[in-house]
C-alpha cells in the first residue's frame, strides 16, 4: 500500500505526467497550442524505434529465453479473450450502446496502447525494476488478435459491420503489417541481432534523451486527449465513463494473473498487466474505420484516448507496478 502511494506520488509529480496534464488543460481551455501532425508522427516513430531496439538489445544480452514463446502466447490469449469481457461489461453497464459499437469498443480494450507501455518502461527504469526484454514482442503480438474477436462479436448475429461480411485478406495484410507493428518488431529483431555493439552505437540517440522526448510527446498526447474529452460531451454518459475506468482494472487483473502464471519477473508482470489494462488508440481505430464503418468512432476514441489512457498513465501505472512487485515478491 505504501509502495502504491509512493509510486503514485512520484508518478504524478514526474515531468512526463505533468506535461501530459498541461496538454489536457491547454486543450480544455481551448489554447491554440498544437503540434504539427508530422512532428507528432515523428516522435511516435522515434519511441517505437527506441523501445523496440532496447527490448531486442536486452534480449541479446540476457540470452534468448524460452519464456519468450510462452509470454507471446499468453499475450495473444489475453488479446483474444479480453474483448469478450469488455463487450459483456459494456453491454451490462450501458445497455443503450449498440451491439456494433460495443464490439468496436471491445476490440480496443483487447489490444494495447504502446505509449502506455513506453511510460511504464520509463517508470520501471526509474525504479530500477528490470523487465524481460521480450515484453516488446509480446506487445506487438497483442495488437491484432483483439480485432478478430471484435469482428466476430460484431458479425456473429448476422449483423454486417458495414462493408459487408468478413473483411478480405487485404484488410488482414494491412492490420498485420501496420507501421507500428513492423517498426516495433523490426527494431526488436535488429536489437537482438546487433546486440551490445549496436546498442553502443545507438545509445546516445535512443536511451539518453528518451525521457525528454517522451515528455514532449505526452504533452501532445495530452492535447489530443483533452480535445477528445471536449468532443466526448454528448457521446459519453456517466455509465460509459464508469466502463472506461473499470475495464482497465479488469484487464489489469487478467494481465497480473497471466504474468504470475507465466512466472515473469516483477517488471515483466507489470508490463503484461499494463498491456492488458491499456486500450489501443492507433491501430484498432484505423482497422475499425475500415471493417466496421458504422460503429461510432467518437465513442471508442473518447473512451480509449480521453478516459482510459489518462487513467492508466496517472493512477493505473503505479498501481500495476506495486501489485506486480507484491505478487512477484510473494
Amino acid at each position: 500500500m505504501d509502495l502504491i502511494l509512493t509510486l503514485a506520488g512520484q508518478n504524478l509529480l514526474s515531468p512526463v505526467i505533468l506535461f501530459f496534464a498541461l496538454g489536457v488543460a491547454a486543450a480544455l481551455a481551448r489554447s491554440d497550442l498544437s503540434f504539427p501532425e508530422a512532428i507528432a508522427k515523428g516522435m511516435s516513430l522515434y519511441l517505437l524505434f527506441a523501445i523496440g531496439f532496447k527490448g531486442g538489445a536486452s534480449v541479446a544480452s540476457h540470452g534468448m529465453d524460452p519464456g519468450l514463446v510462452l509470454a507471446v502466447l499468453g499475450g495473444v490469449v489475453l488479446s483474444f479473450a479480453l474483448p469478450f469481457v469488455a463487450y459483456g461489461l459494456l453491454r451490462a453497464m450501458a445497455p443503450r450502446v449498440s451491439v456494433l459499437d460495443a464490439a468496436a469498443v471491445a476490440g480496443h480494450y483487447g489490444s494495447i496502447s504502446i505509449v502506455t507501455f513506453v511510460a511504464l518502461s520509463a517508470m520501471l527504469t526509474a525504479q530500477g525494476i528490470p523487465a524481460e526484454g521480450y515484453m516488446i514482442a509480446v506487445a506487438a503480438a497483442m495488437e491484432a488478435p483483439a480485432i478478430v474477436s471484435a469482428l466476430w462479436l460484431a458479425t456473429r448475429g448476422g449483423k454486417s459491420g458495414g462493408t459487408g461480411g468478413a473483411p478480405g485478406t487485404e484488410l488482414w495484410r494491412e492490420i498485420l503489417l501496420n507501421g507500428s507493428i513492423v517498426l516495433l518488431l523490426g527494431s526488436f529483431f535488429i536489437g537482438v541481432i546487433s546486440g551490445e555493439r549496436g546498442m553502443a552505437d545507438l545509445e546516445p540517440f535512443i536511451v539518453t534523451p528518451f525521457k525528454g522526448v517522451l515528455a514532449l510527446f505526452l504533452l501532445d498526447m495530452g492535447l489530443v486527449a483533452g480535445r477528445e474529452l471536449r468532443a466526448a460531451r454528448g457521446v459519453v454518459t456517466l455509465r460509459i465513463v464508469g466502463f472506461g475506468l473499470s475495464m482497465p482494472l479488469i484487464g489489469a487483473a487478467a494481465g497480473l494473473g497471466m504474468g504470475a502464471l507465466l512466472g515473469l519477473s516483477a517488471g515483466g508482470i507489470a508490463a503484461l498487466t499494463t498491456l492488458a489494462a491499456s486500450a489501443s488508440y492507433i491501430a484498432v481505430p484505423a482497422a475499425m474505420r475500415v471493417a466496421l464503418p458504422r460503429a461510432n468512432p467518437a465513442l471508442y476514441l473518447s473512451l480509449a484516448l480521453g478516459i482510459t489512457f489518462p487513467f492508466n498513465l496517472t493512477l493505473g501505472l503505479p498501481l500495476y507496478v506495486a501489485l506486480a512487485s507484491a505478487i512477484a515478491g510473494g
Binding site: 498544437s34 503540434f35 504539427p36 501532425e37 507528432a40 508522427k41 511516435s44 458495414g162 462493408t163 494491412e174 501532445d220 492535447l223 489530443v224 480535445r227 468532443a231 488508440y281 492507433i282 491501430a283 481505430p285 484505423a286 475499425m288 474505420r289 475500415v290 464503418p293 458504422r294 468512432p297 467518437a298 476514441l301
Partner: protein, 103 residues
C-alpha cells in the same frame, strides 16, 4: 487552346480509405487522380483537426479526379460501395481540360 469538356470529381473521405479509393478509381478506368492533404473540418459528426494526431483513424484526404464525361457513370458506380457507411462528401463539377488527349 485545345480544350475539352470534362468532369472534376472531388472526394473528401477518411484517410483510412486512401488505398481503396485509389484502387476503385483505377479499376473504373480513370487515367489518374491526385490526393491532397486535409487539415481539419467539421460535419455532422463534429469538428476534427489533424494537428497532433499520430494515427490515421481520424484524418481525411481530398482526392481530385479529372475524367472524360463518358467515364463518370462507371466511376460513380464503382465509388458508391466504398462511400457507403464512410464519412465523406463527393462533388462533381463541369470543367474544361487542356491536353485532352490524356484523359
Amino acid at each position: 487552346m485545345d480544350m475539352k469538356q470534362a468532369k472534376r470529381v472531388e472526394i473528401i473521405i477518411e484517410a483510412v480509405m486512401e488505398r481503396r479509393v485509389g484502387q476503385v478509381l483505377t479499376e473504373a478506368g480513370v487515367t489518374g487522380f491526385t490526393m491532397l492533404p486535409v487539415l481539419g473540418g467539421s460535419g455532422r459528426s463534429g469538428h476534427w483537426t489533424r494537428e497532433g494526431g499520430v494515427g490515421r483513424a481520424s484524418g481525411m484526404i481530398a482526392v481530385i479526379c479529372l475524367c472524360a464525361p463518358h467515364r463518370l457513370d462507371r466511376l460513380l458506380d464503382a465509388l458508391f460501395p466504398v462511400l457507403t457507411d464512410h464519412i465523406g462528401v463527393v462533388s462533381v463539377t463541369d470543367t474544361q481540360i487542356l491536353r485532352a488527349e490524356r484523359f
